[in-house]
């Protein structure tokens, strides 16, 4: 069969239209795309293999044990999982209302010129390296927390209270949560703002025409319409907070225990890896740290997957506007 006949037979298939140099180009670029797949698969494989001594020795008990003792080679992940989840949760409690509020202001109220300028500043905030947040937190936030905020909280709630008891060091879950909140809200703001801006104008006009105030239109009509995208931004922020290392490592206090008090020092998965990995020797110590990494990897992958899905769903829904 001649080439032209083949082209006529299957005119729709892009791959059949490629000839000569195009096939080379396709194979060449495809190689790099497959490289992304391969590297990601290799990363998962390495995490799995390198953590196998620890997985075989501790089994699922690794996830529920509170013991972490390199001297006796006993490792358990629970305090780190607890610290990671608690600090990220605190971050969201602070960052979600602030971030969504700011996104509402940027998409609904601010003049376009102001909105763009402020969004640019928010994106600059997102570009600040994590270690710089840590630097500022150590020297400014920690003293403020120790001298004013934490004693203040204890005055209000009592220093025997469940959430705010114990001595005040400045470092700890609450301080880490605060700094994480500042690091996550740029993501929440910029994704939520886009979700809100994708809500069709008619929705707002219809609500206003029926006599709703601007807040009622925003709260009862626009927000519900964009809720999937906003939820997506929250999950995206959560994934960032879970995996955040440097800033948290500098203010968490490095205490491998489980404490109810938010003022108490703690530890997170990422920060124990950052602090101990380069000095870990023997067979089980590094492998236990890699297994911690695997746990963190699984957590963030699930949260990220949900976030991507939610964001894809809203951009499809809002595509009428573009």
């Amino acid at each position: 069969m001649s080439t032209s006949a083949a082209a006529v037979a299957k005119p729709k298939l892009a791959s059949k239209r490629l000839v000569g140099g195009d096939q080379v180009a396709q194979v060449f670029t495809c190689f790099f795309a497959v490289l992304i797949l391969a590297v990601t698969a290799f990363l998962v494989y390495e995490l799995w293999i390198s953590s196998s001594p620890s997985k075989e020795r501790f089994g699922f008990g690794f996830l529920t044990s509170r013991l972490w003792n390199p001297v006796t080679d006993q490792y358990g992940a629970l305090p780190y999982i607890y610290g990671t989840v608690l600090t990220s949760f605190l971050a969201l409690v602070i960052a979600v209302p602030l971030g969504v509020g700011a996104a509402i202001y940027l998409s609904e109220l601010a003049l376009p010129k102001w909105s763009n300028a402020l969004t640019f500043l928010v994106e600059l905030l997102a570009a600040v390296p994590s270690v710089i947040f840590g630097l500022l937190a150590i020297f400014t936030l920690v003293p403020i927390m120790r001298d004013y905020v934490q004693p203040g909280l204890q005055k209000v709630f009592g220093n025997e209270s469940f959430l705010f008891g114990g001595p005040t060091f400045g470092v700890g879950y609450l301080t880490a949560g605060l700094i994480l909140a500042v690091m996550t809200f740029p993501f929440i703001i910029s994704v939520s703002r886009e979700a809100l801006m994708a809500v069709p104008r008619e929705q707002r006009e219809a609500a206003l025409a029926l006599g709703a105030t601007q807040w009622e239109s925003t709260w009862q009509i626009v927000l519900p319409y964009a809720k999937l995208g906003i939820l997506g931004s929250v999950f995206l922020g959560l994934a960032r907070a879970l995996g955040e290392t440097m800033a948290v490592t500098m203010v968490i206090g490095n205490d491998p225990g489980i404490h109810a008090s938010l003022l108490s020092p703690g530890y997170t998965i990422a920060s124990v890896i950052a602090n101990e990995f380069s000095e870990a020797g023997g067979k089980y110590y590094p492998s236990a740290l890699v297994e911690l990494g695997l746990v963190l990897f699984a957590l963030t992958m699930i949260i990220n997957g949900v976030a991507q899905l939610l964001i894809v769903l809203t951009t499809k829904k809002g595509s009428a506007k573009a």
Partner: protein, 286 residues
């Protein structure tokens, strides 16, 4: 037409005013965080940045007047090497995604790239440790570069793809109708048309990795002296900030502030340049 002021309407208007003002307060608070950071860094770092900082090696605690010349050169080495590895891979993968990929396979790669982009940077560090540091029994700049390039690849690939797809369809069709093969069209028409956007996403990607610390902690490790080649432990600005800020010495803290100011300055200059290249306020890939 004035709204009738029944008590209920007054209440609704009051709620409206209060809540809308609160959103403005939220926006103000979030943006003020940026200025607080900038202000503190300028105040504390400005006092410590001097010529020595750029030309001298770090000194032991207690001695006055050291610098971070080795960390500046080390960071530059690691980031340039990471860019040399990561940018071409990301660029070509982006071309494949935008121009050649079949639907399902393209979705798979896109999804994987987004996953890789979301992997916490400390885990990328573990990976680089297992494939470079462990086999060679040596912390090295190369391991650090590899870790950073892994973060750069998905950013570049998705950025390149996004901006290639924004090139109008008519330009492709015009070139193809003139008889140019697809690859010539891509090289001479599509990529040049999207070059501003592609450059922007590349600059943003490089800016992002140059501030990363976690992947360097146990790959490039750090060094108080000049590194002797790519296979040696190498100092970098972000890692230096971490070690100096967490150490209990006042002169080290001053050095950390100076390093923080220099690093943030570089990152901001890169970000602002990138956004000026895309002159119209096009939305940027996250």
């Amino acid at each position: 037409m004035p709204i009738k002021t029944t008590p209920r309407n007054r209440w609704r208007n009051a709620v409206n005013d209060v809540m809308l003002s609160l959103t403005a307060v939220c926006a103000f608070l979030t943006v003020s965080a940026l200025f607080t950071i900038l202000g503190y860094l300028l105040y504390n770092g400005g006092k410590s940045v001097d010529l020595n900082f750029f030309t001298k090696l770090p000194l032991a605690p207690g001695q006055d007047g050291g610098g971070m010349a080795n960390a500046i050169v080390g960071s530059a080495t690691i980031v340039i090497l990471a860019s040399v590895i990561g940018l071409p891979i990301g660029f070509f993968a982006g071309i494949y995604l935008a121009e050649f990929s079949p639907k399902k396979f393209g979705f798979l790669i896109r999804y994987t790239a987004d996953l890789l982009n979301g992997v916490p940077s400390i885990i990328i560090g573990i990976f680089a440790w297992t494939v470079v540091v462990r086999p060679f029994h040596q912390f090295s700049a190369l391991a650090g570069s590899l870790a950073l390039s892994l973060m750069l690849i998905p950013i570049t690939a998705r950025g390149t793809e996004q901006f290639l797809l924004e090139v109008p369809r008519t330009m492709r069709e015009g070139a193809l109708a003139l008889g140019a093969p697809m690859w010539v069209t891509i090289m001479t028409v599509i990529v040049p048309a999207a070059r501003k956007g592609i450059m922007t996403s590349m600059i943003l990607g490089v800016a992002r990795i140059s501030g990363e610390t976690a992947p360097l902690l146990f790959t490039a490790l750090g060094n108080q002296f000049w590194a002797d080649g790519l296979m040696q432990p190498t100092a970098s600005l972000p890692a230096m900030i971490f070690t100096h800020a967490t150490a209990p010495y006042d002169d080290w803290h001053r050095q950390a502030w100076a390093a923080g100011l220099v690093l943030l300055g570089l990152v901001f200059v890169a970000n602002i340049t990138a956004r000026m290249i895309v002159s119209r306020g096009a939305s940027l890939p996250k």
